[in-house]
C-alpha cells in the first residue's frame, strides 16, 4: 500500500505550524533507544524496534481514518514483514501497532478507539486521536518507553532549613528543642536559663 503524503504535514490546512506527528514520534522513540526506520510503503508510517519490542506507527489523517483502516494497516504490516516476524521467535508476540491522529475523536469514534485498543489479535494496539503536542505524542507512546518522570535526587535537610529560620531564638534553646533527646523537664529549665542569660547580656 502506498499513500505517500496522506498523513498530516507541517503547514497544512489547519493553519500555522502544525506538529509533524511522524517526526515527533520518531524523536520520542529514538530518545528511548529504539531503532526507527521509515516504511517503504508510506511516509506516514515508521517501523520501530528495540531489544524487546517492535512495531509500526501510522500517523493517520483523521481519527475516522484510523477507525476505518486500522485493520487493513495492521494486516498490511504483517504481510509485508512476515519473513522478519517469523525469524523473531517470541519477539513477534511483543508487536505494537500504533495509530495516531491529530483531530479530537468525537461521538462513536471515541469508543471505537477504545475498541481497537482492546482488540489483542496479532498485536497490541495503541489508537489515539487529539495528538497535537509533543506531550500528547509522548503520552501515547508511554507503553513503549521507560518511566519519564524524574524524581530529584538532592533532598534538602529540613533540619538545616529549620535552623536557618529560627535565628531569633538562642542557639542553645534551638539545640535543645531540635535535639535527639526529645522533651524533658531539664530541657525546659535549660531553655529558661538560656533566655535568662540572654536578658542579662542584653
Amino acid at each position: 500500500m502506498v499513500d505517500s503524503g496522506r498523513g498530516p504535514q507541517p503547514g497544512n490546512t489547519l493553519g500555522g505550524d502544525v506538529m509533524d506527528l511522524i517526526a515527533e514520534a520518531r524523536s520520542v522513540l529514538e530518545r528511548n533507544n529504539y531503532s526507527v526506520i521509515r516504511s517503504r510503503e508510506s511516509d506516514a508510517t515508521i517501523y520501530f524496534e528495540d531489544g524487546n519490542l517492535m512495531g509500526f506507527i501510522w500517523a493517520a489523517p483523521t481519527v475516522g481514518d484510523i477507525c476505518r483502516e486500522w485493520e487493513t494497516r495492521q494486516d498490511s504490516f504483517l504481510k509485508a514483514n512476515s519473513q522478519f516476524l517469523r525469524k523473531s521467535d517470541l519477539k513477534a508476540w511483543n508487536l505494537y501497532a500504533v495509530f495516531l491522529a491529530m483531530d479530537e475523536p468525537i461521538g462513536e469514534d471515541r469508543s471505537n478507539l477504545v475498541g481497537i485498543e482492546e482488540d489483542f489479535r496479532a498485536a497490541r494496539k495503541i489508537a489515539r486521536g487529539g495528538i497535537s503536542t509533543s506531550k500528547d505524542v509522548l503520552v501515547a507512546l508511554l507503553p513503549l518507553v521507560p518511566i519519564q518522570a524524574v524524581v530529584s535526587v538532592n533532598p534538602e535537610d529540613a533540619l538545616v532549613r529549620l535552623k536557618e529560620r529560627v535565628t531569633s531564638v538562642p542557639s542553645s534553646a534551638v539545640e535543645i528543642v531540635l535535639g535527639d533527646e526529645g522533651y524533658s523537664p531539664k530541657g525546659a529549665d535549660d531553655i529558661l536559663r538560656a533566655y535568662a542569660d540572654k536578658r542579662n547580656r542584653d
Binding site: 526506520i37 524496534e49 524487546n52 521507560p146 529540613a158 529549620l162 528543642v177
Partner: protein, 674 residues
C-alpha cells in the same frame, strides 16, 4: 541494590531448603494456589524486618495470630528454620545475612538498605510496605485509605525528616511554658492587687493622720491615762483601754436611753392599771348580786318542779274521769238509775253530775299548763343568770391578768433602774443619761486624738510594705518575661517546624505528582477520566485527597478493578519517589487478580517501564500464560537477566521449586535490520 538470592528453610509452607536465585532484571514466580509464592514475598520481608506486616491487616482468631504460623509446623521436621539472603550492588555481591526462628543471626545492616540521613521514622517497615505490594493491600494502602492515613503513608514513604517527633517535642515545650506561665502570672496579679490594697489603705489612713506634736501627744496621753485609769504613756495600750471604756460607757448610755423611753411609755400604763383595779371591784359586786338572784331563782324552780310532778301524778285520775263522763253521756240513765253506781236519779241530776266532772277535769288541766310554763320560765331565767355570771367572771379574770402584766413590767423597770444606778424616775434617768453621754464624748475625743498620732506611724509601716511588695512584683515580672520569651521562642520553632515540614512535603509531593500522573496515564484505570489529581490540605492534620474529573473521589467512583489499577499507579509512584531507599527491588505478590486483560497488559507494560528505569522486578502470578507474558515483556538481557520460577506444593513435604529457568534475551534487531 538488588536482591541476589534467597534461601528459605522451615518457613511458612516451605520445609526443605528452597533456593531462588533472582534475576538481576526480573523474576517471575508462578504456581498454583498454596504453592508458596506469597511465602517467598513473606521471607524477603522477614529477612529485613523479622515481621510480616500483612499480619497486622488480618485479625487474630481464637487467640492465635499469623505470627504463630511463621515457621514450618508440619509433621515432618524441617532441617532448619532460617532465611538467608544475599544482596548485590553494581555487580558486587554482599555477604549473606540470615534470620532464624531464634532470631539470633545477624540481620541486614540498615546502611545497606537506606540512607539514614533522609530516611523516615521506622524505615524498615516503610521500605517493605512500599517495596512489597501485596494483592490484599493494594487498594487498602492506596484508594481505600482515609485521606489522613494516606497523607501519613506518603509522608512516611517519601522520607520526610522526622518532623512529627520534633513537632511533638516543641509542642511539649510550648505546653510546658504555658503551664509554667499561669502560676507566675497569677502570683504577679496577686502582688499587684496587694500593692493596690496597700496604696488604698495608705490613701485612706493619710486623711486621718495627725502631725505628731510632742506636747499635744503628752497632754492627750495623760488625759487618756486618767480616763482609763492606768499608769501608761503607750499609745496602743491607752487606745485599747479607751476602746474598752468607750464600749462600756456607750453600753450604759444606750441602756439609760432605752429606760427613759420605756418609762415614758410606762406612765400611761400606771393610770390604766388603777382603772383596771376599779373595774375589777365593780365586776366582783356584780357577780355577788347575780349569784344571789340565781340562788332565789333556783329555789323557785325547785318548788315549781315539785308541783308539776304532783299534778302529773294526778293526771291518770282526771283522764279516767273524762272517759267516765264521755261514757255516761253516751250510755245515759238506765231505767232511772246511774249506770255506774245504780243510784236512782233524775235526768237533770244525772247531767248535773256529769257537768261537775267535766269542770273538775278542765280545772285540773288549766292548773297543769300553768305549772309547766312556770317551770320553763324559771329554767330560762337560771340559765341566763349562769351565763351572765360566767361572762362577768371572764372579764374579771382578763382585768386581773392585765394587771399582773403591768405589775411585772413595773418590777422590770425597777430592776433596770436599779441596774443603771437610778430610781425609777424619768427625770432622774434623763439626768444620768446626759452625764454618760458627756463622758462618752470626752472618751471619744481623746481616742480620736491618740488615733491620729498612731495613724502616721501606720502610714510609715504601709509604705515599707508597699516597697517590699513592689520588689517582689518586679522579680516575678522578670520571671514572667523570661518564660514568655521562652514560650515565644519555642512557639516560633514549633510553627517553623510545621511550616518546613509542610514545605518539604509539598516539594516532595510536587515531585510525586508527575510520577503519579504518568503512571495513571499508563495504567488508564478509567476511560472517562484521563487524569488524576491529588490535593493536600489541612494544617494540623494533613489530608491527601485523590480526585478525578470534577472533584470525584475515585474510591466511590471506580469499580474494584479500576481502584486496583489506580492503587497500583499510586503505590508505584510512591515506590519510585523514595530517595532514601537503596534497595531498587519492586516485589508484587499476585497483582493481576481482579484486573481485566486490557489493564493487565497495561500493568505488564508499566512493570517493563520500571525495569527499563533500572529497577529489579519480582512478581508472582498464578496463571502460567501471564507468567510467560511477563517473561517476554520484562526485558531479559545479558546484563540484566530474567528468571522464571515455578513453585509447587508437595503434600506433607512442603513447597519446592518445580522449574527454574533463565529467560533468554529476545533477538535485538529483526524488523529494522533490513
Amino acid at each position: 541494590m538488588l536482591i541476589k538470592e534467597i534461601e528459605i528453610s522451615g518457613f511458612r509452607g516451605i520445609r526443605k531448603k528452597l533456593t531462588i536465585p533472582f534475576g538481576s532484571g526480573f523474576t517471575v514466580i508462578t504456581g498454583r494456589n498454596g504453592s508458596g509464592k506469597t511465602s517467598v514475598c513473606d521471607a524477603i520481608e522477614y529477612l529485613f524486618t523479622q515481621k510480616i506486616t500483612r499480619v497486622s491487616a488480618e485479625q487474630a482468631e481464637g487467640g492465635e495470630r499469623l505470627e504463630d504460623y511463621i515457621w514450618w509446623r508440619g509433621k515432618q521436621r524441617a532441617p532448619a528454620n532460617s532465611i538467608t539472603g544475599r544482596l548485590e550492588d553494581s555487580g558486587i555481591v554482599h555477604e549473606a545475612w540470615s534470620v532464624g526462628k531464634l532470631g539470633k543471626e545477624g540481620r541486614v545492616p540498615d546502611e545497606i538498605l537506606f540512607d539514614k540521613q533522609i530516611a523516615p521514622r521506622d524505615p524498615l517497615p516503610a521500605l517493605c510496605r512500599t517495596s512489597i505490594l501485596r494483592d490484599e493491600l493494594i487498594t487498602w494502602l492506596s484508594t481505600d485509605l482515609a485521606e489522613g492515613a494516606r497523607a501519613e503513608f506518603v509522608e512516611q514513604a517519601i522520607g520526610i525528616v522526622g518532623t512529627t517527633q520534633l513537632e511533638n517535642t516543641a509542642g511539649n515545650y510550648v505546653a510546658r511554658f504555658k503551664e509554667r506561665l499561669k502560676p507566675i502570672e497569677g502570683e504577679y496579679n496577686l502582688l499587684r492587687e496587694k500593692i493596690s490594697g496597700i496604696l488604698e489603705e495608705i490613701s485612706e489612713t493619710q486623711n486621718q493622720a495627725t502631725v505628731a506634736d510632742e506636747e499635744s501627744l503628752r497632754q492627750w496621753t495623760e488625759t487618756a491615762a486618767k480616763l482609763v485609769g492606768i499608769q501608761s504613756t503607750e499609745v496602743p495600750k491607752l487606745l485599747s483601754g479607751l476602746a474598752t471604756k468607750i464600749a462600756a460607757t456607750r453600753g450604759r448610755a444606750d441602756q439609760l436611753e432605752r429606760l427613759s423611753i420605756d418609762l415614758k411609755a410606762h406612765e400611761e400604763e400606771i393610770s390604766k392599771a388603777a382603772e383596771l383595779l376599779r373595774q375589777q371591784e365593780l365586776l366582783r359586786a356584780e357577780m355577788t348580786k347575780l349569784e344571789a338572784t340565781l340562788k332565789s331563782a333556783e329555789a323557785d324552780l325547785e318548788v315549781a318542779s315539785k308541783n308539776l310532778k304532783s299534778a302529773n301524778e294526778a293526771q291518770p285520775i282526771y283522764t279516767s274521769l273524762a272517759a267516765l263522763r264521755e261514757h255516761g253521756l253516751r250510755v245515759g240513765l238506765q231505767d232511772g238509775k246511774c249506770p255506774l253506781c245504780g243510784t236512782r236519779l233524775t235526768e237533770e241530776t244525772y247531767h248535773e253530775h256529769l257537768q261537775t266532772i267535766a269542770e273538775e277535769v278542765n280545772q285540773h288541766q288549766l292548773g297543769l299548763d300553768a305549772l309547766v310554763k312556770k317551770e320553763s320560765d324559771l329554767q330560762t331565767i337560771t340559765s341566763q343568770l349562769r351565763t351572765s355570771i360566767e361572762t362577768t367572771r371572764n372579764q374579771f379574770n382578763r382585768y386581773a391578768a392585765d394587771h399582773q402584766v403591768f405589775e411585772k413590767t413595773q418590777a422590770d423597770m425597777q430592776e433596770r433602774a436599779k441596774s443603771a444606778g437610778v430610781n425609777i424616775s424619768e427625770d432622774e434617768v434623763k439626768t444620768k443619761f446626759g452625764i454618760e453621754k458627756a463622758n462618752l464624748a470626752e472618751l471619744e475625743k481623746c481616742s480620736d486624738a491618740l488615733k491620729g498620732f498612731a495613724v502616721s506611724e501606720r502610714v510609715k509601716d504601709l509604705l515599707k510594705k508597699k516597697s517590699l511588695a513592689e520588689l517582689d512584683a518586679e522579680e516575678v515580672k522578670k520571671q514572667s518575661e523570661t518564660v514568655n520569651e521562652a514560650l515565644q521562642g519555642v512557639s516560633t520553632i514549633f510553627n517553623e517546624i510545621r511550616r518546613v515540614s509542610r514545605e518539604a512535603l509539598e516539594e516532595r509531593l510536587a515531585s510525586l505528582n508527575p510520577l503519579l500522573s504518568e503512571l495513571y496515564a499508563r495504567l488508564k484505570p478509567h476511560v472517562d477520566f484521563a487524569e488524576i489529581k491529588y490535593r493536600m490540605r489541612g494544617d494540623v492534620k494533613r489530608l491527601l485527597r485523590l480526585e478525578v474529573g470534577d472533584g470525584f473521589n475515585p474510591r466511590f467512583t471506580f469499580s474494584s478493578g479500576q481502584r486496583r489499577a489506580l492503587g497500583l499507579a499510586f503505590l508505584f509512584a510512591v515506590y519510585l519517589s523514595r530517595r532514601w531507599c537503596k534497595l531498587n527491588t519492586l516485589i508484587l505478590d499476585d497483582p493481576m487478580q481482579h484486573v481485566d486483560d486490557y489493564r493487565a497488559l497495561h500493568l505488564v507494560e508499566v512493570l517493563s517501564s520500571i525495569r527499563q528505569s533500572g529497577h529489579q522486578v519480582i512478581c508472582t502470578v498464578e496463571d502460567p500464560a501471564l507468567a510467560d507474558l511477563l517473561c517476554r515483556r520484562l526485558r531479559s538481557s545479558d546484563k540484566s537477566s530474567g528468571v522464571r520460577v515455578e513453585l509447587a506444593y508437595r503434600p506433607g513435604s512442603g513447597v519446592e521449586v518445580k522449574d527454574l529457568s533463565t529467560v533468554a534475551p529476545l533477538p535485538s534487531r529483526v524488523l529494522t535490520a533490513a
